[in-house]
Assembly symmetry: C2
Amino acid sequence: MPPSATDGRESDSSRLPVPADRAIGIDVGGTKLLGVVVDTAEPSTPIAVVRRSTPVGTEALVESLVALVAELDADTSAPVGIGLPGLVDHDDRFRYGPNLPAVDDVDLGDLLGSRVGRPVVVDNDATCATAAEFRFGAGVGHSDGVLLTIGTGIGAGLFVDGTVRRGANGFAGEPGHMLVDRNGPACPCGRRGCWERFASGSGLGRLGRDAALAGRLSAAVDLAGDAEAVRGEHVVAAARDGDRDAGAVLDEFAWWLAAGIGNLVDVLDPSIVVLGGGVMDASDVLLDRIAEAVPAQVMGSDHRPAVTIAVALAGEHAGAVGAALVASESV
Amino acid sequence: MPPSATDGRESDSSRLPVPADRAIGIDVGGTKLLGVVVDTAEPSTPIAVVRRSTPVGTEALVESLVALVAELDADTSAPVGIGLPGLVDHDDRFRYGPNLPAVDDVDLGDLLGSRVGRPVVVDNDATCATAAEFRFGAGVGHSDGVLLTIGTGIGAGLFVDGTVRRGANGFAGEPGHMLVDRNGPACPCGRRGCWERFASGSGLGRLGRDAALAGRLSAAVDLAGDAEAVRGEHVVAAARDGDRDAGAVLDEFAWWLAAGIGNLVDVLDPSIVVLGGGVMDASDVLLDRIAEAVPAQVMGSDHRPAVTIAVALAGEHAGAVGAALVASESV
């Protein structure tokens, strides 16, 4: 059955038989599953790509992943890497992620491994993307860097002294929940003033609505219908049309992004920060603003080389390709 | 000439001849120089300790260091490690540190090496302390940890996957300048709302004065003379006497310390955070408060092991002993 005959997903590429030097990677997002097959000797361009929507609940997720693995590679025993948005421990157990609310404390590696009869490795999605970007993407040539995925929330991966690092429990790289404003808005994590309340896609929407409700941003309000409906995409579209109010909201958003990047540079001293995730589809109106705002947010910036701010090259495949890389390196 | 005959310093120990398996470490603070000689096979207890005051300016600092090295070890060629408060690059150049304002962009390794005729290694002071604490102090047995020195400002060292890490330029570990409050007080670094405005010794003093000027904290005001003169030590002394207002200020201080520790745990996922520096002389009234405040500041804390909060064991010698360790490992 060709992939195009199956409901609920599209396919970028026809299915191919995959020999043993292949690996499968699946990026589990809050709304979609993105699966790839890669040649481990040449992983930058996937051999096959399949998308499905993310079902709700652990059992449905496992069924979808089993079906996706079979569809991507029914014939070999290529290892499988799964990237998940949240805390994944060193034993392939998914502990917690606000964007997968019905899936908590699940030993996904074991559950899935017993179903597909091949090695399954589970890791944080941004950590997987970091493995890809520093192997063949924007991070090549850097020994110390940070990757940020700017989407609904903010994910991160750490590349330190030439290696992806995961911390004591596997949970490193959750800067979205750094406190940056004691009196800031409430966060779904239970605290207030977390960085991702300002510097994620949701943060951009909130900054836009605040401006619209204050009577500014009429171009974005026209696009959205009314002030309460303004989202980040409306702000971006209005800014692309040259609207000055929308540009001012992007300046504020870039300031907040730079504030958290400054925190990470102060702590980790990376030579590059790689930015991926859906929000960076607007890199044409965001990247320069962010890069210009960062130096003022870094301690002693007059006395150190500027940190490079770059857009992820692997694009939307980075998490899935990275998961495949992590799996191939674990077997 | 015995150490006690020299003006401007005291000595904990008489000078000893040091064979080649020794190393010298000097911790350069904003107000004092602390020099040690260690046996590299048994570095935890220094063989000799000498203190002097820190002179102002690069030239005077070099002269003091040359004299201190000669005094600690005139007879051998034991390597020398120097720990400095601020940004030190991988080429032993001191770039910038707000607490050594008259010493900027100095190639201290070369300057000093040519004067003392032996290997000289220069590193960040908290990074040196980290080398010591994770070798034989509170961090033993942990592969991922953070050391914080809570003094006038906040310094840090990172221990990641079993090794001290310094970042791309050598500047890793400056969390004192993380933004934690957009509308917070101005910082000597030129920005506002940096963590060390709240969570350092100066931060404790400021929280105390704010409380005193608001009419609370009379016990600490009595100790200080007047509200404007309240410093951290008065708050600590009043809290030790059971004063409730002073305890409330320490609660607020611990909240701020925990907020930044939470940021670091979110980013790095250490299994331990080791606290040193002058403020931790008050660990009897601070440690429990900090340890109790941390879990609420960590993302997903219900789904992960608690991070250990511990006091540094090497105490005031940690930076100097660590500098000696770093020097002995570089030759």
